[in-house]
């Protein structure tokens, strides 16, 4: 992948160790995502996806390498970088005792959205995610799929240029999972939002998506999904990853 200054996410030569004498959790990782791009970060458990995700989200301090979000260096200009990014975590961050609307109001405030603007954006996202009828319901009574949609609405309120999904479909049924993957692609196509999608489920990747395959902290292959398949002569992603990562991936991958 060639580097471009217009990339919404630019990760360059990232290396991270949890302890000085440990094996590198990330070793020289680079990737970039342009506006409207969907980039899947694939790899088995322990490959380094969560570490990379935490670094991009600014939850861990950089040791070596550079991360820039829409031109803002996460180390030098942390707050500006964070303001351009939305994050959907694997674990729910919603307050179960508050209503959907109260939760979204809180998250809008966390992103310093003016009340009028917040009201408009909440309305838009609830409507787009078909949650308008649920706005007065407490999150506690929502099912997993609805909660996940509220999480997505939360992450989108401040119109981020980059959206991070960390194993966002874990624990959801097949239909809901597919709806969320489709919605993430819709955001790329229609809203020109760059999406970094961390997962270990190969069926969540579309043929036109960019893919980085991570294993033991290193990127073992990277590029457009269909290009990688044709270059490696693999029938599908699962076969490709079996070739590159071996049995370790085969045992963990779940395919529809």
């Amino acid at each position: 992948m060639t580097k471009s200054s217009s990339a919404v996410l630019n990760v360059s030569n990232l290396t991270y160790r949890y302890r000085a004498d440990d094996r590198a959790a990330l070793d020289g990782v680079s990737l970039e995502i342009d506006s409207g791009g969907f980039h899947a970060l694939l790899g088995p458990n322990g490959a380094g996806k969560t570490t990379l995700f935490s670094l991009v989200a600014g939850l861990r301090r950089l040791q070596k390498g550079v991360i820039a979000i829409a031109g803002s260096d996460i180390k030098e200009n942390n707050l500006s970088a964070l303001s351009k990014m939305g994050v959907v975590f694997q674990q729910s961050a919603l307050d179960l005792d508050l209503t959907v609307e109260q939760n979204l109001n809180y998250f809008a405030a966390l992103n310093c959205l003016e009340p009028k603007r917040a009201k408009v954006r909440i309305e838009e996202e609830l409507s787009r995610l078909e949650l308008s009828k649920k706005r007065k319901e407490r999150v506690r009574v929502l099912n997993g799929g609805h909660r996940r949609r509220v999480e997505i609405a939360r992450a989108l309120l401040h119109d981020p240029q980059l959206l991070l999904f960390d194993e966002a479909t874990v624990g959801l049924d097949v239909t809901t999972r597919q709806q969320i993957v489709d919605y993430a692609h819709y955001l790329c196509d229609e809203k020109q939002i760059a999406v970094l999608w961390a997962t270990h489920l190969v069926d969540e990747v579309f043929p036109g998506d960019d893919v980085s395959l991570l294993d033991y902290g290193r990127i073992v292959d990277q590029g457009s999904c269909h290009l990688l398949l044709s270059e490696r002569g693999a029938k599908n992603l699962k076969q490709l990853f079996s070739q590159l990562v071996g049995r370790r991936y085969n045992e963990e991958a779940v395919v529809l």
């Binding site: 989200a57 600014g58 939850l59 964070l82 994050v87 729910s92 109001n105 966390l110 310093c112 009340p115």
Partner: protein, 258 residues
């Protein structure tokens, strides 16, 4: 860059959320009231006959034991509230929702300070409700005292909330928190002037008296007590302010590290 308006929006959002949480968690709401009321109407009633309180500052006449312990119980409400807020931070961290706070594009010290002040607002709701019930039972204070008390309530709430925040940054698991509560809340409360004047504790044990003098909670109680009677205790307010700054600074540092 976020301007003052942005900081205000965030602060207001955090306060509204903490208030809504408090009001919707009815168990917490009642526990916050029942605890000091039990002390006031059961414990104090039992001790009234056994314990005489001579005229000491800021009082100008003999007072009932209920009147004496009222400021201590106000401080106790704040102590529990401060620890409860930090407990919620441990829960937030365990459940992962703390990460959403951490990816907010606002300096982390301000996020933590907003949480602290939000906790202070919640504790004010509890304190004034408690004082209103006490007033209904004829434990009245000077009328202006209800207003003059406000700065001392806010400052002592910040001090106790900062202490709770400091503890929560050191606690990795929720299970550990119960132990720390026992080792922090009860010693802080009992080794203070909340239940007995310090001179009276000194009569029983000079060592306990010294521990009470070293306890920052004592100064929160005295700051509140003097304010309620429209007087100003420079030492108490100075210690509370100093401890608030120290605890908060260490808490922010510890939080960033953790």
């Amino acid at each position: 860059m976020i301007g003052w308006a942005g900081y205000w929006i965030l602060f207001r959002g955090v306060v509204v959320r903490e208030c809504l949480r408090f009001l919707q968690q009815r168990g917490r709401f009642f526990a916050a009231l029942v605890r000091p009321l039990m002390w006031l109407f059961v414990f104090a009633a039992g001790f009234r006959a056994a314990l005489g309180v001579s005229i000491i500052e800021p009082y100008e006449t003999y007072i009932t034991y209920e009147t004496y312990i009222l400021p201590g119980l106000v401080a106790m409400v704040q102590l529990f509230n401060g620890m409860q807020s930090s407990l919620s931070m441990v829960v937030d961290r365990e459940l992962g929702s703390m990460r959403v706070l951490m990816v907010s594009p606002v300096p982390r010290w301000f996020l933590l300070f907003s949480k602290l002040l939000a906790g202070a607002v919640v504790s004010l709701l509890q304190v004034y409700l408690f004082l209103a019930i006490a007033w209904l039972f004829d434990i009245a204070l000077p009328a202006w005292g209800y207003l003059i008390i406000l700065p001392s309530l806010i400052l002592s709430s910040i001090m106790l909330g900062s202490l709770g925040m400091l503890l929560s940054s050191a606690i990795k698991q929720l299970e550990n928190f119960a132990g720390i509560m026992n080792f922090v809340i009860f010693p802080m409360f009992f080794l203070s002037s909340a239940l007995y004047p310090i001179w009276k504790i000194g009569e029983a044990s000079p060592l306990l008296e010294k521990l009470c003098i070293l306890n920052p909670f004592t100064y929160a109680v005295e700051f509140i007590r003097f304010s309620l009677y429209l007087k100003f205790d420079l030492t108490a307010s100075g210690v509370v302010l100093f401890c608030s700054v120290i605890f908060f600074t260490i808490a922010v540092y510890a939080f960033k590290r953790s």
